[in-house]
Structures are given as structure tokens and as C-alpha cells.
């Protein structure tokens, strides 16, 4: 036990002194979530501000007094679009689509001619594109009102135009929180685990081989198992540290969310944080032991780096399954590491209770991985030196 502790502390202090990797890992784990949430919430706010912003930019509104009247009645303001609206929309100075009214619009309508209204916007101007929907709805409203009035003038009920109405009914449970972009948080956390432990794992195995320090190390009276346990525990500790930091970065992240709806959706309390930790700690141990096992078979840092990148990539892409198949969650997923954890974290984010059963299954799977990796590493530790 004393030997294991000695190995553990040596690996920890070695990893903690590797400034460059440490800084990179810490910065990414602390900043990633706040930055992501800030960006997404800003985008959401922009969408909403277009919906809330009740102004219409128009050219030649004087030729359409009827439409002007309708728009004003809906509580919108009308602004004269600048003459160089095309140029301004292209360089994103103008953030709204522009309504173009043809010459003599009202007169043509009175003569029951077919007339066209145009909406000008730049497809690369995202904000302007978002304002398109509300403007279209507004114009459709006017078209319907006009049509209805015309029918009434001819003694026909305008209801005939719309005998079918379509309504939406929401059947989601009221206690279920809406999850939109917070669904990506589990992915970010799992990425943080694999990225965080990777360099420590490589350095304590393949790095040790490359430096030539593994051979002298094996000349000490320590068993392969002691080395395997000490090294894996150290790597797992680094991963766990990253997990704790990333999860705790959720709290300051809440304050930078620039959108009310999202802030309401993303209510992350201490309880949720603890649930996250319960879910993630076994996974961190399992992934770390896999990384150690994977790196030990490599002779150089570079080789181990490539293999670990592959592992990281696979692991980070597994949660994409849920994005591709939202809501579809077969029972066997609970037995797949990473997937099970993603599933449980999503449940926590939705405010659901994670069943003890699924926690136990995930723990069992993770323990299995740790034991398998440890026994592999402890056997391999002496073999690689003898190669």
C-alpha cells in the first residue's frame, strides 16, 4: 500500500508540474461550458429579439395606405428603409428584411389586378433571415384580411376560406424541463474527461518508456499490480479533477447566459451537480484505466498520442447518437459505457430522477473495465520492459 501511495504521489506531482498541458486542460475545462452557453444564448436572444422587435422596414409605403393601416393596427411601427438598403444589408448594418412595395400598389389592388410584394434580404445575414418569418406572417395576415373583405363584399362568408384550422396541443409532462442546447453538455463533460486524463496517461506509460525511466523503475521491488494501481489512480484523479472543475464551471456559466428562456431552462443546482458527479466518477476511472492500458503498449509518446486521440474521438462521438435519435432510448444503452452516462445526465438535466438500477448497471460496467485494464496493465508492465 505504501508503495502504491508513493507511485500515486509521484505521478500526481509529475502531472501537476507539466505546466503547458495542465494550463491547457484547466483553461478548456473552466472556459468551454461558459463560452458555449454564452454564444448559444446570444444567438437565441437574437432570434427572439427579431420576434419581439415590432418594426417593419419598407420602401415606398406611401403607395400602400391599406397595408400601412393594417400593419399599424397590429401594433407595428413602420420605418422608411434607407436608399442603400441592399448595401447595408450585405455588410450586416441592416439587421431586418426590407419590404418592397411596387409603384401604385393600392391602385392595382383596387382594379383587382394581381400584384406582387417583395421582401429583400441577404441570406448570409442571419439576423435579417430570422426577421423574415414574422414579416411573412404579418403580410399573410393582411392578404387574408383583404381576401376576407373582398368575399364579404360579394356576400360570401370569409369562413369558407378557412374551414379547417390547425391547432397545436402540448403533451409533454409539466415537470419535464425543456432541453434544447443543454443537451450538448453531457458531450462536453465526457470530452473533458478523455482530454483531461490523456496526457497524464501517456506520460506515465509511453512517456516513461520513451525516456527510458521504466526499466530502472521496474528494477525496484514493486509488483506490476502496484504500479498499475498507482498510475491508474493518478490518471483517474486528474480526470476527476477536470470533471469537478467543468461541472463547477456550470454555476458561473449560468450568470453569463444572455437569454431569459435559456436561463429558466438551465437551472443547475448543487443537487444536479452531485448527481453528475455520481454518474461521472466511475466513468472517469474506467476511461483513465483504458487510456493507461492503451498507452502502455506504445513505445513512444507520439504513437500513444495517436491511439488516444482515436479513443477520444470515438468516446466523444458516442453521445451524438442521442442527437440523431432524440427520445429513442433502447434498454441496452444502459450497458454501454459513455451512452449510459449521457442518458443519465440528460435525465438529470430534464429534472427527472435517475433510477438506482441504471446507476448500479453503469457502476458494474465501469468496474469491469477498470479490473480488466488493471490486470492487463499489471501483466504487461514487466513484459514491455523485457521486449
Amino acid at each position: 500500500m505504501r508503495e502504491i501511495l508513493a507511485i500515486y504521489w509521484k505521478e500526481i506531482s509529475d502531472a501537476m508540474r507539466d505546466r503547458r498541458t495542465l494550463m491547457m486542460v484547466l483553461a478548456s475545462s473552466l472556459l468551454l461550458v461558459p463560452v458555449l452557453l454564452f454564444v448559444f444564448s446570444t444567438v437565441m436572444s437574437q432570434v427572439e429579439s427579431q420576434a419581439v422587435d415590432r418594426t417593419v422596414m419598407a420602401v415606398n409605403m406611401k403607395d400602400a395606405p391599406g397595408l400601412e393601416n393594417y400593419i399599424l393596427r397590429q401594433g407595428y411601427q413602420i420605418k422608411q428603409a434607407p436608399a442603400d438598403y441592399e448595401e447595408k444589408s450585405r455588410n450586416k448594418e441592416l439587421t431586418k428584411p426590407v419590404l418592397l412595395i411596387p409603384e401604385g400598389f393600392e391602385n392595382s389592388l383596387a382594379q383587382v389586378k394581381r400584384v406582387e410584394l417583395e421582401i429583400a434580404y441577404d441570406t448570409s445575414n442571419r439576423q435579417a433571415e430570422m426577421g423574415l418569418g414574422p414579416l411573412r406572417r404579418l403580410l399573410n395576415g393582411y392578404v387574408q384580411e383583404r381576401g376576407g373583405l373582398d368575399l364579404m363584399m360579394r356576400g360570401i362568408s370569409p369562413d369558407l376560406l378557412q374551414t379547417i384550422t390547425v391547432k397545436e396541443r402540448h403533451i409533454s409532462r409539466p415537470d419535464e424541463r425543456k432541453v434544447t442546447i443543454t443537451g450538448m453538455l453531457p458531450m462536453v463533460l465526457i470530452m473533458a474527461i478523455v482530454m483531461g486524463g490523456m496526457f497524464a496517461a501517456i506520460d506515465s506509460t509511453a512517456g516513461e518508456r520513451e525516456r527510458g525511466s521504466l526499466e530502472p523503475l521496474m528494477m525496484n521491488p514493486v509488483s506490476g499490480l502496484q504500479l498499475a494501481v498507482g498510475k491508474t489512480a493518478a490518471v483517474a484523479s486528474v480526470s476527476v479533477l477536470i470533471v469537478i472543475l467543468t461541472v463547477s464551471s456550470f454555476f458561473p456559466a449560468q450568470s453569463v447566459i444572455a437569454n431569459e428562456a435559456l436561463r429558466a431552462e438551465f437551472q443547475f443546482g448543487v443537487k444536479d451537480a452531485l448527481a453528475f458527479l455520481v454518474v461521472l466518477l466511475p466513468l472517469a476511472a474506467a476511461l483513465s484505466s483504458l487510456q493507461v492500458a492503451l498507452s502502455l503498449t506504445c513505445k513512444t509518446f507520439k504513437e500513444a498520442n495517436v491511439r488516444n486521440q482515436l479513443l477520444s474521438l470515438t468516446v466523444s462521438f458516442l453521445p451524438l447518437f442521442f442527437i440523431l435519435n432524440p427520445g429513442k432510448e433502447p434498454a441496452w444503452l444502459g450497458w454501454v459505457p459513455v451512452m449510459a452516462q449521457t442518458q443519465m445526465m440528460n435525465q438529470v438535466l430534464k429534472g427527472e430522477l435517475v433510477s438506482l438500477n441504471s446507476i448500479a448497471i453503469a457502476l458494474l460496467v465501469c468496474t469491469g473495465i477498470v479490473i480488466a485494464s488493471l490486470s492487463f496493465v499489471s501483466k504487461k508492465m514487466r513484459q514491455v520492459v523485457m521486449e
Binding site: 505504501r2 508503495e3 509529475d14 508540474r17 526499466e215 530502472p216 523503475l217 528494477m219 514493486v222
Partner: protein, 284 residues
């Protein structure tokens, strides 16, 4: 005391299959083919041999870092098996690869090995101070080993190997890459370790440098083509080879074996061939 009897080790060298398909060709290489020596306590034994003679492989088997095919190794009456730890506690090994941890200070490097040997903190401290005094590395102790010179590295690695005060010390080409000053310091230290005050250690070291052996060793074992071809004191070996110069004696003894086997192998006796090898050897 280290007793090595008739060590054998064969490596299988795997070649690449042609065009990447088919079975891999395998070639057996006899790295060690009958090495024997006895290293006494309070004495320095030098394992002398050309590059690739099998010195390092033999020493790795003694350090139980490699499985031997046949033969036996005893360290203070403990039989060595590969991967087993009882004999390792009695050994202090300075391997070819110094393998210090660059991000740890010299003291931490030394302490780590002390802890792995199950020593307590106070003992490690005391022993580190002693070694620092003997090896004159007090100034280096608190610095990280990153950027140490070859000589400094060797001293720290040696201190680390000796932290548990082992009775038997193995050094694999310890003077590789060292300058004259560092070599002399190392030589002095080894001589001191041999004395009763130094602990009367049993020291085995491998080298291919003649002067080192001449100046330092009580016993010399000459290894060539994986086997022990001669052993004795420097003067004994010189008289055995009937040469006045130790280098000439070494070349003669190390390559004589080849000449004999050549004559035995082929009745036609390619003496000219053997003479040529001998000549080449002495030129080198």
C-alpha cells in the same frame, strides 16, 4: 555475492514478410551463450567485451528484467527468477538508460526509489544526505533534473540506485558519455564502496574500455560472442595471453575463441580468415 552459472538467452528476431503478406520470417539470435562469473563481496568485477558481446543482456538477466533460457543466478544465496522481487531488493542497478524524471527534483527522484524500497522518510532523508556527501551532489538536490549534464545525471541515478544501501551493485557501462573528471570521481567512489568503510560491496560493472578495467577491477571477465572466454586478474589475463599490453591480451583472448571454433568447424581450417579477424580486431 553474485554467482552466475552458464547463462543462455536466445532472441527471436522477426523479419518482415515479403510484400506484407505471408508468414514472418524468424531468425534466432543467440545473445548469451554460456556466461559464468562469480563476483565476491568487497571486490570489483569487470565484465569486459566488445559491443554486442552480451554484457547488457547478461546483466539484465541478473537484474531479473529478462527471462533466461537456462542457467542459474544466485544473489546472496537467493535464486533469481525473472520478474521476482526478492533479489531486486538486494541489488542496486545503474542501467544504461539513466531514466531520471525531468520534472522532479534530484531529491524527489532519489526519494521516490527509497519509498518504492519500502524505506521510511527519516531513513531516506539520512541516506540521501550521506549519498549527497559522498557523491558531492548537495547543490543539485533541489534542482529539477531537466537540463542536468551527463555527469550530474549519472551521479543522481547512482545515488538513486544506492538509496536502499544494497549489498550488490550492478553498473551497466557507467562511464558512457562521461568526461575525465566525472569518470575519475566515479572510479574513486566505486573504490571506496569496495572498502570495509564503504560497506564492502560486491560490484559488477560492464564496459568496453580497457583503462577502466585495468585501473579498477579486482577480477575481469572477458565476454565474447555471448560466452565467457577468460577470467582472472589483469596480470593473470596478460600472462595467459602472453602479451605485455592489456589491450593486446584482450583482443587475443576475445578473438582466440573464434579462431578455435573456426578450425573446429571446418576441417579446411580457414586460418587466414581467423588471422584476418584477429588483425582487424587489433587494429580496432
Amino acid at each position: 555475492m553474485i554467482i552466475v552459472e552458464d547463462l543462455h538467452k536466445e532472441f527471436v528476431k522477426l523479419g518482415k514478410p515479403k510484400f506484407g503478406i505471408g508468414a514472418r520470417s524468424s531468425e534466432k539470435v543467440k545473445a548469451v551463450n554460456g556466461v559464468s562469473f562469480t563476483a565476491q563481496d568487497g571486490a570489483i568485477l569487470g565484465l569486459l567485451g566488445a559491443n554486442g558481446a552480451g554484457k547488457t543482456t547478461s546483466l539484465r538477466m541478473v537484474a531479473s528484467m529478462l527471462k533466461m533460457d537456462s542457467g542459474s543466478i544466485k544473489i546472496d544465496e537467493v535464486q533469481v527468477k525473472e520478474g521476482q522481487m526478492a533479489s531486486q531488493a538486494r541489488l542496486g542497478i545503474l542501467s544504461d538508460a539513466r531514466g531520471l524524471y525531468p520534472r522532479l527534483t534530484a531529491r524527489e527522484n532519489i526519494q521516490y526509489y527509497g519509498k518504492l524500497h519500502g524505506m521510511d522518510k527519516a531513513t531516506i532523508e539520512k541516506r540521501t544526505d550521506q549519498l549527497a556527501h559522498w557523491l558531492e551532489i548537495h547543490k543539485l538536490l533541489e534542482r529539477r533534473t531537466e537540463g542536468f549534464s551527463q555527469g550530474e545525471r549519472m551521479k543522481i541515478a547512482l545515488a538513486r540506485a544506492l538509496i536502499h544501501d544494497p549489498k550488490n551493485i550492478i553498473l551497466d557501462e557507467p562511464t558512457n558519455g562521461l568526461d575525465v573528471v566525472a569518470t575519475r570521481a566515479l572510479r574513486e567512489f566505486l573504490r571506496w564502496l569496495r572498502t570495509p568503510e564503504g560497506g564492502g560491496k560486491c560490484i559488477v560493472f560492464s564496459t568496453h574500455i580497457m583503462q577502466e578495467v585495468e585501473r579498477l577491477c579486482d577480477t575481469v571477465v572477458i565476454v565474447a560472442q555471448g560466452r565467457t572466454v577468460a577470467s582472472g586478474t589483469v596480470s593473470e589475463l596478460m600472462s595467459q595471453a602472453q602479451e605485455n599490453d592489456f589491450e593486446d591480451a584482450f583482443v587475443k583472448l576475445a578473438f582466440l575463441d573464434k579462431q578455435q571454433s573456426n578450425t573446429a568447424d571446418s576441417a579446411k581450417a580457414s586460418t587466414s580468415n581467423a588471422a584476418a579477424t584477429l588483425k582487424q580486431g587489433s587494429l580496432a
